[in-house]
Each structure stands twice: as structure tokens, then as C-alpha cells.
């Protein structure tokens, strides 16, 4: 890992009584793609605006490219931002938009036009310099916004949910394009989003943020396969959440029972004792489905269910079950073979999952009382 381009050290921001960013520390390595993932109101936009310099932290320090940014105005930081609504200048042509930052640096007109053309070429918009901004499509505008920032060769490029305004198809396409652009330019990207799929697909590292803190910071694989907190387990990817109490602990494994008496097995995360309130999580693709018990992998605890509905979504198809006795919902991903495409509602099925791939956390304060 090379030197860190961004280091946040115990950064705090309060708005009145509300702590928007709560003593946050992290670093982003040079040339990496770092995402901050969290629901709206978690403080991610505040954090990004502090990095850009639009608001000053109440405590702690932010260093960019090894230099403390305390007291440095946004127009003097080696950071550029791609805004949520892109904020392209409608009164200027595409070329002038890209050349705007160069003009502010006093680059001569001929040279900045040439550099802006070259940058547009690199993002696949060669020859568009003379166009008006409103003549471009959503995806093209996106690229202009990125080109406008990258032409200044910033240490850090900040992206504030730039895909939010696009329709689904274009969003999927731009995801890939962003990743390729980042790889091609090698600039460090800091990306904020509430869309876990964007964060997982794009990032080298993701910080999952909630209430001004990072719940977990790690690679997308870490977050998905080894969530550290119940928040991460439920926010990143689909998950079946089962609330109950610890019935017994054997080493790393826990047996937990719901209030109405459904028992499952899972790996424990954190210190747990018999009787503690817990939240268990089982991913839909971890569970196996069978019409008869013999179809299930051997050695896994069996459960019985009744098909409630089939959720067909191509490769992401799933079936929604009710556990036979407790009527609790449980979602299982269907195999790609189309083996269970003829399932009918009310059909009785068997299912099981590997307890090693299910995880169980001490219940969060807010979740302890409820009974999912």
C-alpha cells in the first residue's frame, strides 16, 4: 500500500445538539477507490463537504496529500468534486466547462482549450467541446463533470452520489464506466452513496457509515461475507434477519431460539452468553432448498417451510417462504438451473443452511425489544 492521499483524524462535526460526524478516523491509499456507504442522514455528505472544504470540522484534522487542510479554502485544496446534480455551468460550452478550472489557474486560452479537448477525448467525448451542456445526454454530462475535475489533476476526486439522478439502465452502465475511468486515470476517488451495489461494484474499500460513525471499514468482500455489526449485515446485500435469544453456546457456534420457538444455528460475533438477545443473519444464497429432505446437503440442520411467493428476477430470482410452524418469512435464492421454477404457493418444502455461513450478533439496543 502506498502513501495515503487522505487521512481523517478524529474528525467531528456537530449541528447544534446533533452530532453529524462523530470522531471519525480513516485513511485512503493513493490511487484507490474508496466509498462511503450509508443511509440518508448518516453524515456522509457532511463528511464529504468537510473534505472538499465547504464546511469546517469542529474537531480533528483532515490531511490531503500529506498536508493538513485546516484553514485551507475549497478553491485552494488539491481536491475536486463531482456534484450530485453535476452542477455543469449552463452558460458555457462543454469545452469551457472543462477548461474552467484551468482558466482560474491562469493557463493561457489556447493551451487550456487544447487540454480540455484532450481531456474530453479521454472520456470519450472528443469533438463535443463546442456543444451546449443541454445538448448532451445524462451519461455524457456525467463524463463532462468528471473531465472538468480530472483536468486539474487533483490528488483526490470526490463524488457525491453522482449516479443518483440517472435511470437504472444508465446507472448500471455508468458504474462500469466510472470504474474504468478510475483505473485509467489512477486518481484517488472518494465516492459517497446510499446504494450498496454501487459501493460493492466500484470500491477497493468501503466505509459503512451510520449515525456519524463507521460501522465497518473493509473490502467489499469483507463487508459482504464477514459483517462486523448487525447494521452492516442488514444494510449490505440482502439478508434474512432472525431475532431471538441464545439457547446455548458451543465454541464459536451459537444455538438461538426465537420467541415462538424456532431454533437456528449460526457463528457468533462478539461475546454472547446464554439468554442474551441476539440478531441472526442468513443470506438468501447460503440456504439450500429441496422438495424432500434427501435433496439437501447432508449434515445441516433442516427446516420446513411453505412457499409464499416466487420472486422471479432473472438471475436474482428468489422464493419467499414461511417457516412452517412460526410463519416467519425466509428468503432463499433460486439456483440458476431453473430447478425450482415450477414451485407453487402453499407447496411444502425443506430448507437448510450451513451454520458456519450464518452469523449472530448481540442485539442492538433499538432491536432488542422488537421481535422480527
Amino acid at each position: 500500500m502506498s502513501a495515503a492521499d487522505l487521512i481523517a483524524d478524529a474528525v467531528v462535526k456537530r449541528f447544534g445538539e446533533h452530532v453529524a460526524v462523530d470522531s471519525l478516523s480513516f485513511s485512503v491509499a493513493h490511487g484507490s477507490f474508496f466509498s462511503i456507504l450509508g443511509p440518508s442522514g448518516c453524515g456522509k455528505t457532511t463528511l464529504l463537504r468537510m473534505i472538499a472544504g465547504f464546511i469546517a470540522p469542529d474537531g480533528g484534522d483532515i490531511a490531503i496529500g500529506g498536508r493538513s487542510m485546516r484553514g485551507v479554502a475549497p478553491n485552494r485544496r488539491p481536491v475536486n468534486m463531482v456534484f450530485q446534480q453535476l452542477a455543469l455551468f449552463p452558460m458555457m460550452s462543454v469545452g469551457e466547462n472543462v477548461a474552467y478550472g484551468l482558466a482560474r489557474r491562469g493557463v493561457a486560452r489556447a493551451q487550456r482549450m487544447q487540454r480540455s479537448e484532450a481531456m474530453l477525448e479521454r472520456v470519450g467525448l472528443g469533438g463535443a467541446a463546442a456543444k451546449r451542456v443541454d445538448e448532451l445526454s445524462g451519461g455524457q454530462r456525467q463524463r463532462v463533470a468528471i473531465a472538468r475535475s480530472l483536468v486539474l489533476e487533483p490528488t483526490l476526486l470526490l463524488l457525491d452520489e453522482p449516479l443518483g439522478a440517472l435511470d437504472l439502465k444508465l446507472r448500471e452502465h455508468m458504474k462500469i464506466e466510472l470504474k474504468q475511468l478510475q483505473a485509467a486515470f489512477g486518481t484517488t476517488f472518494v465516492y459517497i452513496t446510499h446504494d450498496q451495489s454501487e459501493a460493492l461494484v466500484l470500491s477497493d474499500h468501503v466505509g459503512v457509515m451510520s449515525h456519524g460513525r463507521f460501522e465497518q471499514l473493509g473490502t467489499p468482500q469483507d463487508l459482504y461475507y464477514r459483517p462486523q455489526t448487525p447494521f452492516v449485515a442488514s444494510f449490505v446485500g440482502a439478508n434474512n434477519r432472525i431475532v431471538g435469544r441464545v439457547a446455548s453456546v458451543q465454541g464459536a457456534s451459537v444455538e438461538m431460539t426465537t420467541k415462538d420457538g424456532w431454533t437456528i444455528h449460526a457463528l457468533k460475533q462478539g461475546a454472547l452468553a446464554v439468554g442474551d438477545a441476539v440478531e441472526g443473519f442468513v443470506r438468501p444464497e447460503v440456504a439450500s432448498l429441496g422438495r424432500v429432505a434427501a435433496e439437501l446437503p447432508a449434515g445441516q440442520p433442516r427446516h420446513e417451510g411453505e412457499v409464499q411467493s416466487l420472486l422471479f428476477d432473472g438471475a436474482n430470482s428468489a422464493v419467499l417462504l414461511k417457516e412452517l410452524r412460526t410463519r416467519r418469512e425466509f428468503r432463499i435464492a433460486l439456483p440458476q438451473t431453473g430447478q425450482f421454477s415450477d414451485l407453487r404457493p402453499q407447496e411444502k418444502v425443506q430448507f437448510s443452511f450451513d451454520p458456519e455461513r450464518a452469523v449472530c450478533f448481540p442485539a442492538r439496543a433499538a432491536a432488542a425489544g422488537q421481535d422480527g
Binding site: N75, R76, Q85, L88, M91, Y100, G101, R104, L152
Partner: protein
């Protein structure tokens, strides 16, 4: 079928015509007709009792008499200066109302701009006279504070006329500016700042180009109001005011020379039209776009 469709269209046109009728009558009776009459007046000359001939004598008098010329140019220049000063003063006010304060405070500030207009222009101008005349509030205060030894006459200067004109015009500049500044997305300002622009560069490259139609609209309205103002220059400038509207008044009322007055009126109309066209040309704006902003 065809006749029914025709009838429907005819009804539609009739409805539109009726809706437009008051506006058309208003324009026709109060603006077009008097102007036609004035045009006819301005192109004739009295050669004997009740005897008139078509002639360009009225316009010739204007061009040959240096006083008229002088007053004409002076009125135009003073109006341009007043418009510019109004813009300079109104811009920060509009910026504060549109961008810096929110909700009730912004409404309150706007009402503060509006309040002077609840009083008639005459009373407002007389208020200025009470403040500024030799025995008035301000000269007395200056003496009390020891700034001047004797009370000074603050009325009847060009600066006084400008103060009065700017004060009268302020609201008409502030309103189009607020509406054009409010429509400016704050993210554009932040983006410019983020890309390295300082405060002045943001103003020059983002704010002013965006607000250009509003600025032009405000300037046109204020310039026309100032050029055609009679009361403020006359009361605050006294004999020194030398405002062109005063010349028109003199011709019509004092000299009873309607022909000359009508010619002056048309010259003033030509002046304001020419200046507006010039202003639009300089600002690179189209008249229709600008008028939608007012």
C-alpha cells in the same frame, strides 16, 4: 362534420378576441391614439391664427437651439448614471434577500424595500426636501456635530437629484434581480469555488452571466422610469435640474406650444428606445427573454 369543426374554431377565436378586447382597447385608446395625435402635432407648424402647415420646424428648433440639446444629453447621461448606481446598490440587497437569508427574514427584508412605495412619490420627495434643505434636518445635524460651521444647502445639486432617482428606482431593480438570483443553483457557485475560482471570479463568470437577463430587465425599467421622471428632478434639483421632461412640460403648459412639446416627446421616446436597444446589444440579451424576467 366540417361545418361543426369550423364553428368550433370560430367560437374559439371569438372567445380569444373577447378576452383580449380590454387590453386592446386600453392600448389603442390610451397609448396608440394619443401618440398618433402627438405625431401629427409634432410635424406641423403654425403659420397664422388657426393656420398650420406640415413642416419639420419643431425638430429643426431642437437641433439648432443648444439649450435643448444640452438638456437632452444631460438627461440621458444622468439617467445612465442613476441606473448604474441603482444597480450597484440593489445587487448586494438582492443577493442578501435571494441567497443569504432564508424564510421570514428574507420576506421581511423584501417588505423593507417595498415600504417606501406605500407613500406617494410627491410625499416621499418632499421628505427628502425636509431632510436636505438648508434649514433641514441633515444640515442642522452637521452644524451640531461641528462638521460644518454654517448650515449648507444640500438641495439643488446634481448629486441630490441622483440620490432621489436611485431611491425611487431601487425596488424596480431589486425585484428582477431577486428573481434571477433565486434561480441560480447554489451548487454552481460551489462548483466554481471548488474548481479554483475566488469570490470575484465566481461573480464575474457564474453569477453575472446567470443574472444577465434580470440585470438587463432591471436596468431597462429603471432607465425608462428615470428618463421619464418629472417630479423628483424638478423638486430636488429646482432650477438647476434641467431635466428634459421639464422642457416638455414648459412647452405644453407654460408656452402653450404643443407642436414643440410633441416633438420633444417623440425625441425622448426615440432616445429611450435607442438606449434600450444599445443596452440589449451590450448585454447580448433578447428583448423578449428580458421582459419575461420582470
Amino acid at each position: 362534420m366540417a361545418s361543426a369543426a369550423l364553428q368550433a374554431r370560430w367560437h374559439g377565436r371569438l372567445g380569444l378576441g373577447l378576452l383580449l378586447a380590454p387590453a386592446v382597447l386600453w392600448l389603442g385608446a390610451l397609448i396608440v391614439l394619443p401618440h398618433i395625435d402627438l405625431a401629427v402635432l409634432s410635424f406641423r407648424e403654425r403659420v397664422g391664427p388657426r393656420q398650420y402647415v406640415a413642416s419639420l420646424a419643431q425638430y429643426k428648433t431642437f437641433f439648432l437651439e443648444p439649450l435643448y440639446w444640452h438638456v437632452f444629453v444631460r438627461t440621458a447621461l444622468m439617467s445612465v448614471i442613476a441606473t448604474f448606481l441603482t444597480l450597484l446598490l440593489a445587487f448586494p440587497i438582492a443577493w442578501i434577500i435571494a441567497k443569504l437569508v432564508q424564510g421570514r427574514a428574507s420576506g421581511l427584508l423584501f417588505i423593507l424595500c417595498l415600504i417606501p412605495f406605500w407613500v406617494s412619490e410627491t410625499v416621499r420627495t418632499l421628505g427628502w426636501m425636509i431632510l436636505l434643505r438648508e434649514s433641514g434636518v441633515l444640515p442642522t445635524l452637521l452644524v451640531k456635530l461641528g462638521i460644518t460651521a454654517v448650515p449648507v444647502e444640500l438641495l439643488y445639486h446634481d448629486a441630490t437629484i441622483l440620490v432621489g432617482l436611485v431611491y425611487t428606482s431601487m425596488l424596480f431593480m431589486v425585484i428582477p434581480l431577486i428573481s434571477s438570483l433565486e434561480s441560480l443553483d447554489n451548487a454552481l457557485i460551489e462548483a466554481a469555488y471548488d474548481l479554483g475560482a475566488g469570490g470575484f471570479a465566481v461573480l464575474r463568470t457564474i453569477v453575472i452571466p446567470h443574472a444577465a437577463p434580470g440585470i438587463t430587465a432591471g436596468c431597462i425599467v429603471v432607465f425608462m422610469l428615470t428618463l421619464g421622471n418629472y417630479l423628483t428632478p424638478t423638486l430636488l434639483g429646482g432650477k438647476n435640474s434641467q431635466w428634459f421632461t421639464e422642457q416638455i412640460y414648459t412647452q405644453f403648459i407654460t408656452r402653450f406650444n404643443w407642436e414643440q412639446g410633441a416633438a420633444f416627446g417623440f425625441l425622448l421616446l426615440a432616445l429611450s428606445t435607442a438606449m434600450v436597444m444599445l443596452g440589449l446589444k451590450i448585454a447580448g440579451q433578447r428583448f423578449g427573454d428580458v421582459m419575461r424576467r420582470t
